[in-house]
Symmetry: C2
Subunit: 440 residues, 2 copies
């Protein structure tokens, strides 16, 4: 059966008159068309990535290049991506179709839109939209089970709730920053890793990254107390990006009585481009196959025909480049290669559960999926898990446990499937800066 | 030594030409002058409570009644209390002084401001300001220790971190609503109280209130990574209000792997008036006296002379009015009488700790202190603690464990000290509505 979510904008035969968009290695072929915000001399603007270029959507909209539903969507998007996301998926889809038509090889709109193209290189990207709420979930049993071993069924040992519901917590919206923002090592209260000795207040010794997917929501939500079905939850996903949930492990473990707090609010880095729900449609896969010993899917998250709650295959990797490697001209070193397919719950299930208590989730909400670890040790998507195997090496001979000052962490995501043109999520990166000398 | 924070606006001899402000029972004498927002035919406006009336600050500001720093503060405040709070405490203080001068008995400004007065009764109050961040802390050892008993030193048994740092977690800003907003019983996943049987998805059976103080922050915060001293933290408090952190205990306990989430995001009710830092100055008390067996105050929260980190005495109470009581004409029944003085950490310590990892805390931040329970059983500030003593009775003969549909919960707070005119925080109330019939 053909994928009902695939349409002519996904056609693998489409090529763009923007040459760099036709390179198989690009994250941004004409089949992707992600949205982002950038800084320009004229003020902050909305853009669409195509190959190595950006379409200035704010400019193109003001010039009257769009018509009908696409014009309305472009006008909203020009003001801010939260405005576009509020309109819902049909609006974003109309705009995507118009952009595809304008950027395709031989388009009669080329001369109209060409003046609104600029280079990505050298352009300052901004947070894609204001983050009103940031929720972080934890839906990889492999992430939680890595250090706990397996149960009698050979499944990762996890708190039972993880297999009944997508577990999550509220994060701090103001801590979300765009890729490229520096990450300063925080001060905080922490204890020796073995829990020995008095807690001390000092610069965090166990700084970590967490490779996650960020889900940007669409729509205006439903009135408090109303149901959000799996189908509605699926319609509430504006798009996806990379998310690095930087974690100060010493602080996190000491303060954890009510969940993560200052161990997480140091910074959360997101990639600048939102790859839309529509763009990822070809890469949908069935939901994670639950082992027979696991509890049944609860009623509010059940989607018998898997039409809405489907999973997503995204090849993910994290790489580290130390200051010494940078100086020696060595490229970033891959420390993790994993896939989003390992998540126990699907994005639609996460959203339906989030809204199940009447909580209004809407455009402006960003949901982190939690560390996207898979079963294999090479799929450990943070250092907490990797360090479980003891100290490890970077090229050039450095030994590592946790992140050091000067380390740059880079996350990447790529969606590929035979018969389709691969697309990518771009990059989320951040450089660790030393702690300020502020106390004692 | 006289309290250096007390000034002529606190003078107990001051009386207002607004008669109801001179009643000893009012929460809003001329010594209080709290800020709030209300709905008017002309649009949303900022107001100041005086007795049973409201000064329309937006109108008075537009009419040019203020001069100098007070005019600047009034203009910002007229747009939104977050704008006034951003300016910091000196601005709010200048405005308070001007208002005091205008409302005092015999003021030559009376004819100017009198046209901008309206009745509180019948006026729809709004959320005092947009909540950008909501943090909930947990700083009463009595709250956590109630069900755990005492340690070998006779102190409440708590996780050790509670005595090293003010423990907190991020809440959901969008869940904060103003007093009077209905609270719908949520659906969710919960287990039998004894943890027996399969978890089920249904309307929450263990709905609870939590009596807390809400701290509204001022200023623009400090750059990421910078120190916030106790003194600076003290200057970052715009004011105080009541806060009911409604809690769905079944949901909360089942999902708690990463802290409270859907068990809390149903609603958090705040009182409509922000009672300023300056207004509460006469009611400051020394910080909580730590038992000698407790760990020393950490360096970043230490305030040797207790000049900034001082505590605050606020007499607090919670009352419940059931549907049957309402029908029978019975008044709300007090279920808790406690005091803010029992908090282990002071507001300034909470803020200094919150900012210690470089997190920027600023106007738009609301911090809940956590349930304000004291040592006595009558000071149990939520039903979870109260139920520990078994079922209890409401007037009219109803037996209660948890909140029932139709229950109205009212919180009140009052500050009194010999030699000063008492002031109050007003009321935070909410009525429990039945769960929607949405699943199964």
């Amino acid at each position: 059966m053909p994928n009902p979510l695939v349409n002519p904008t996904h056609d693998p035969e489409l090529r763009s008159w923007v040459g760099s968009a036709n390179d198989r290695a690009t994250d941004f072929p004409i089949q992707n068309l992600p949205f982002g915000r950038f800084r320009a001399a004229e003020g902050d603007r909305t853009g669409v990535a195509i190959g190595e270029l950006i379409v200035d959507l704010t400019g193109a909209s003001a010039a009257g290049l769009f018509a009908g539903a696409a014009a309305e969507a472009a006008k909203a998007g020009a003001q801010g991506l939260d405005q576009l996301a509020r309109l819902g998926l049909p609006a974003a889809s109309a705009l995507r179709f118009a952009l595809s038509t304008m950027l395709v090889d031989g388009s009669r709109h080329r001369t109209g839109i060409e003046p609104f193209l600029r280079e990505q290189r050298g352009t300052d990207m901004l947070l894609p939209m204001p983050v009103r709420h940031f929720t972080d979930m934890c839906v990889s049993t492999f992430h939680i089970g890595r250090r706990r071993g397996t149960d009698s069924n050979g499944q990762p040992l996890c708190p039972p709730a993880m297999r009944h519901i997508p577990v999550g917590y509220d994060g701090r919206p103001g801590s979300v920053v765009v890729s490229g923002s520096p990450v300063r090592r925080p001060w905080g209260t922490w204890q020796h890793p073995e829990g020995e000795g008095e807690p001390q207040f000092g610069p965090e010794p166990r700084l970590d990254y967490e490779l996650e997917i960020g889900i940007w929501l669409a729509g205006t939500g439903k009135d408090g107390g109303s149901t959000t079905t799996i189908g509605e939850a699926s319609e509430a996903i504006f798009g996806y990006g990379l998310l690095n949930d930087w974690s100060a492990r010493g602080i996190q473990f000491f303060e954890t009585m009510l969940g993560p707090f200052l161990g997480k609010s140091i910074a959360t880095t997101v990639s600048p481009w939102i790859v839309t729900s529509e763009a990822v449609a070809p890469f949908r896969i069935p939901a994670f196959v639950r082992p027979p010993c696991d509890p049944p899917v609860p009623v509010h998250l059940d989607d018998a025909d898997d039409r809405h709650a489907g999973g997503l295959a995204i090849a993910l990797e994290a790489a580290i480049e130390s200051a010494a490697m940078r100086e020696a001209g060595l490229p970033p070193h891959r420390v993790c290669a994993t896939d989003f397919r390992h998540m126990y719950w699907t994005p639609a299930q996460m959203i339906a559960h989030h809204a199940s208590n009447g909580c209004v989730v809407a455009a402006g909400d960003l949901i982190g999926t939690g560390t996207c670890s898979g079963p294999d040790p090479a799929e450990a998507a943070c250092l907490l898990e990797r360090n479980f195997g003891g100290p490890w090496q970077l090229p050039g001979g450095e030994t590592r446990g946790w992140l050091e000052d000067g380390d740059r962490v880079l996350l990447r995501g790529r969606l590929e499937r035979p018969g389709y043109v691969p697309i990518g999520l771009g990059t989320a990166e951040g450089l660790i800066e030393p702690a300020l000398q502020v106390f004692g």
